[in-house]
């Protein structure tokens, strides 16, 4: 492998209203390598790619291509620079023929318009040459499998003389055989000198195909390593938190541990839904923090949504204080004293155009019903109380909530539920994408609430946080709960090893 960086990104930062998406990120891509970009949701992978391909402009930092400083103006410009991108969803037209999809916009023409015969033969030759694929290019694209469609998307992006290929989760909808086929092609392209950047959530695939791995976490550059020199455990530790060794001293919290109630407030028995979540059994006691740990897509969020009634469970049972309950909508859960701060603040939590005041009183008002309208004065008192209590920084509670920073938005969501005086709070990634100070405040607040007797279901990708504030931790992997740790066993290292169980099994075998 040549060690010349064809593309490098230097100290790139990008901010969105309320979110720090990337901060001082460095990254370089070499000729003839397959480079995997890893990180949890919200780590900044897609933002980095969008900057690379000209969808966004960086707020600071610069990009060099073949040693020259460049500015990528737009996705079209990126193409002319030789950067080809295939996005997660196949952006092709399934009802057009393979050839049309491949050569759309640059069809060979004769004086009657498109030269169809040549279009089909050209397309066929192109696929053969670039990807070793021999297809009937006159057939509609939709008649081929997703893998083939994905490859045609790659071929299409390769038509322009490109040297860099970026694949954003190309395998998420493919089965194993299809993935293998795709990887074969990636290897072929790599051997021809193409620099390939590859994003995926599947750790096994990363090891199967990539030469180097770069990890981002929370918008920050964590490190780059040769794939062969990085163990899965280390990779996961880079993705989710600090080095396990650093974290021996998370025991300060245990001292404030109150005499926990033993009362089972909430219990699921085999709660699940085929294809969404394998049957889960967990209990939540009064006044405890139950952490849900696991990687993205491991079933943490799914568990939360089933318990809150945001998604319907099709099997299993849910008990509150020993009485079976049946949730048809979040409203049922709310009436029973639950609150839920969803993972995706913007699309599932905030009512962006409405004011801070309205956002804070919304759940309480919904709980009260349409007719018992909270008088404006009461609304203002409640909003004021929480703005002060949680330290929400805003000059005016009538401002649209979307104008707040990420941390303050999260606090507004928290306030919305605290106003309903909940018995159970489900917090899904409450600290994602917010700055360190706000993060610490929110974690502190969670411990306070727990000490007040509220039961909390705490989900976070950062194992450090989970370990620091949970009384018990349920560990998820592949849409099911695989273990539960309690008391002094809660530390980042144990959790990480349980998540990387494969690694553990290997270690035992050796």
């Amino acid at each position: 492998m040549e060690n010349s960086a064809i593309l490098s990104m230097n100290t790139i930062s990008k901010y969105f209203p309320g979110v720090r998406a990337l901060s001082q990120v460095n990254f370089s891509l070499h000729k003839g390598e397959i480079h995997a970009l890893m990180g949890q949701n919200g780590a900044g992978k897609s933002t980095l790619i969008k900057i690379m391909t000209g969808v966004y402009q960086p707020d600071s930092g610069y990009i060099t291509l073949r040693g020259e400083k460049i500015k990528v103006e737009s996705p079209e410009h990126a193409q002319t620079l030789g950067i080809a991108t295939v996005y997660q969803e196949v952006n092709l037209c399934p009802n057009l023929t393979v050839a049309e999809n491949l050569l759309l916009g640059r069809e060979p023409r004769n004086r009657f318009g498109i030269a169809w015969k040549r279009l089909f033969t050209d397309a066929r030759a192109l696929l053969k040459e670039k990807l070793d694929l021999d297809l009937d290019t006159t057939k509609p694209l939709g008649t081929y499998s997703l893998a083939i469609q994905q490859m045609i998307a790659i071929a299409r992006s390769l038509c322009v003389s490109s040297e860099i290929l970026i694949l954003d989760e190309p395998t998420s909808s493919l089965d194993e055989a299809e993935v293998e086929r795709l990887f074969k092609i990636l290897h072929k392209l790599k051997n021809e000198g193409m620099a390939i950047l590859f994003i995926t959530h599947f750790i096994d695939q990363v090891y199967a195909v990539s030469d180097r791995i770069t990890v981002l976490r929370n918008g920050e550059y964590i490190g780059t390593s040769e794939a062969s020199a990085l163990s899965k455990l280390d990779l996961i530790s880079m993705m989710v938190g600090k080095d396990p060794a650093e974290l021996a001293a998370s025991s300060t919290r245990r001292e404030i541990k109150l005499t926990l109630g033993t009362e089972e407030l909430l219990k699921t028995e085999g709660l699940g839904r085929t294809g969404y979540l394998k049957p889960i059994t967990v209990t939540l006691k009064k006044g405890e923090v139950l952490g849900l740990a696991g990687l993205l897509g491991s079933g943490r969020t799914e568990t939360a949504k089933l318990i809150f009634g945001a998604e319907r469970a099709l099997e299993g049972r849910l008990f509150q204080k020993g009485i079976e309950i049946n949730l048809t909508a979040p409203r049922d859960a709310i009436m029973m004293g639950m609150g839920f701060c969803p993972e995706d603040r913007k699309t599932e939590g905030l009512i962006g155009d409405l004011s801070i005041r309205e956002n804070i009183i919304l759940a309480l008002q919904a709980k009260q019903g349409i007719l018992r309208y909270l008088p404006r004065k009461t609304q203002e008192e409640i909003a004021n109380q929480f703005i002060q209590e949680l330290g929400i920084k805003t000059p005016d509670m009538e401002k649209p909530v979307k104008t707040l920073s990420g941390g303050n938005q999260q606090k507004v969501l928290l306030a919305r539920w605290l106003a309903t005086q909940p018995a159970i709070l489900i917090l899904d990634e409450p600290t994602r994408g917010i700055d360190v100070a706000a993060k610490a405040e929110i974690l502190q607040r969670i411990i306070q609430l727990r000490n007040q007797g509220i039961s909390i279901l705490f989900i976070s990708s950062e194992l450090e946080e989970v370990a620091a504030i949970s009384d018990r931790v349920a560990i998820f992997r592949d849409k099911k709960k695989i273990a539960e740790v309690e008391g002094k066993d809660i530390n980042e290292h144990t959790i990480m090893r349980l998540i990387a169980q494969e690694e553990l099994e290997n270690a035992i075998q050796n």
Binding site: A329, P330, E348, I351, D353, E358, L362, A366
Partner: protein, 350 residues
């Protein structure tokens, strides 16, 4: 003082209001007696009164539609519901002239009250159908209501048997032609609906919930708002409003025409809502604005007729005015001009 004018300009209703003033001024020059209001036969009469009377048709629909639009939806079936409602009322009142002794007496098929209730109930049912499609089955609002928009014309024509039903029953004329204290009765109906809806949305949490659903439906659901139910009833109520409008129209023209009654009302009503400052994206809504929008549209229509614009260019002129109002409401568009203006000032200063 400057501060005040600025605040005024930022109000969503400022520009539509200016357009209305401009339209009225044009009329003042071009139409003789435009502003004259006479007291005749115990009622006010004049072009302005006529405009107000006619703008109630679109105005009442716009009230219901404002709610639908604020939830992020749209209802393009209101024109058809107007036709159905009118057709049902006309059919039930219908009646024939019967000779009783030597006097001709009109016998209605059913009492007028029953006819009115039946027409409104049918409209409500049709709206519930729309609501079901949108809220439960999650069909896109424009597609869901397109079904009734097309089918509704057919239903109306079935009711009228493909003909125009003339209504001979005089008491029915009062709804769309009568006056109370000298003012057209339809205006009272409009005001009643308007006040009712303003009270229902601003004195209860309903308004907040409408807006919340319109801005973010999932987040509203997760906050415990019964969004399906609220969306469902917004469509039901919107069709009910269209039904009321259908009664006014059929009463005013003393007939029901399944094919043409309420034709293109949906577009005028949507325009009225948008001109009134409620965004088609959903969220914050402005009921008074929608009524203002309806008045602007009716003023425009009347103006076009009264200044003698040939009918064939009629719609073109209407679209130009609508275009201008939309432009005036666009902050980006205004910024463009303010910027130019500023640049010019700077240049002239240099």
């Amino acid at each position: 003082m400057q501060f005040k004018t600025k605040r005024l300009q930022e109000s969503t209703l400022f520009w539509p209001f200016m357009v209305l003033v401009l339209l009225l001024l044009i009329n003042a020059f071009l139409t003789r007696g435009f502003f004259t209001i006479e007291w005749k036969d115990g009622r006010f009469s004049g072009i302005l009164v006529d405009i107000l009377n006619r703008s109630t048709y679109i105005g009442i629909i716009a009230i219901g539609l404002t709610l639908v639009i604020s939830t992020g939806g749209i209802d393009i079936s209101v024109g058809s519901v107007v036709a159905i409602s009118g057709a049902i009322a006309a059919y039930l009142i219908g009646g024939e002239l019967v000779l009783q002794g030597d006097q001709q007496i009109l016998v209605t098929r059913t009492p007028m009250g029953v006819a009115i209730v039946a027409a409104l109930a049918a409209s409500l049912l049709l709206g519930m159908w729309n609501g079901l499609l949108v809220s439960r089955l999650r069909i896109q609002p424009i597609v869901a209501t397109l079904i009734l928009m097309v089918a509704g014309r057919g239903i109306a024509q079935l009711v009228t048997n493909g003909q125009i039903i003339t209504i001979y029953y005089k008491p029915y004329y009062f709804i769309g032609n009568g006056t109370l204290l000298g003012i057209p009765f339809s205006i009272y109906i409009l005001l009643a609906v308007l006040i009712l809806v303003i009270l229902a949305t601003r004195r209860t949490a309903l308004g907040l919930f409408f807006e919340s659903i319109g801005v973010n439906r999932t987040a509203s659901r997760y906050s415990g708002i019964q969004e399906q139910r609220i969306v469902f009833w917004s469509y039901a109520f919107c069709a009910f409003c269209a039904g009321v409008s259908g009664l006014l129209v059929s009463s005013n023209v003393k007939s029901a025409d399944g094919n043409n009654a309420g034709d293109l009302f949906e577009l005028d009503a949507i325009l009225a809502v948008v001109i009134g400052g409620t965004s088609l994206n959903g969220g914050k809504f402005n009921l008074a604005g929608s009524i203002l929008g309806a008045i602007i549209i009716q003023t425009l229509t009347t103006t076009i007729y009264s200044i003698g614009v040939p009918p064939q260019v009629n719609l073109v002129i209407k679209s130009i005015v609508v275009f201008l109002v939309s432009m005036l409401q666009s902050e980006n568009f205004r910024a463009l001009f303010q910027l130019n203006h500023k640049n010019k000032l700077i240049r002239s200063a240099v």
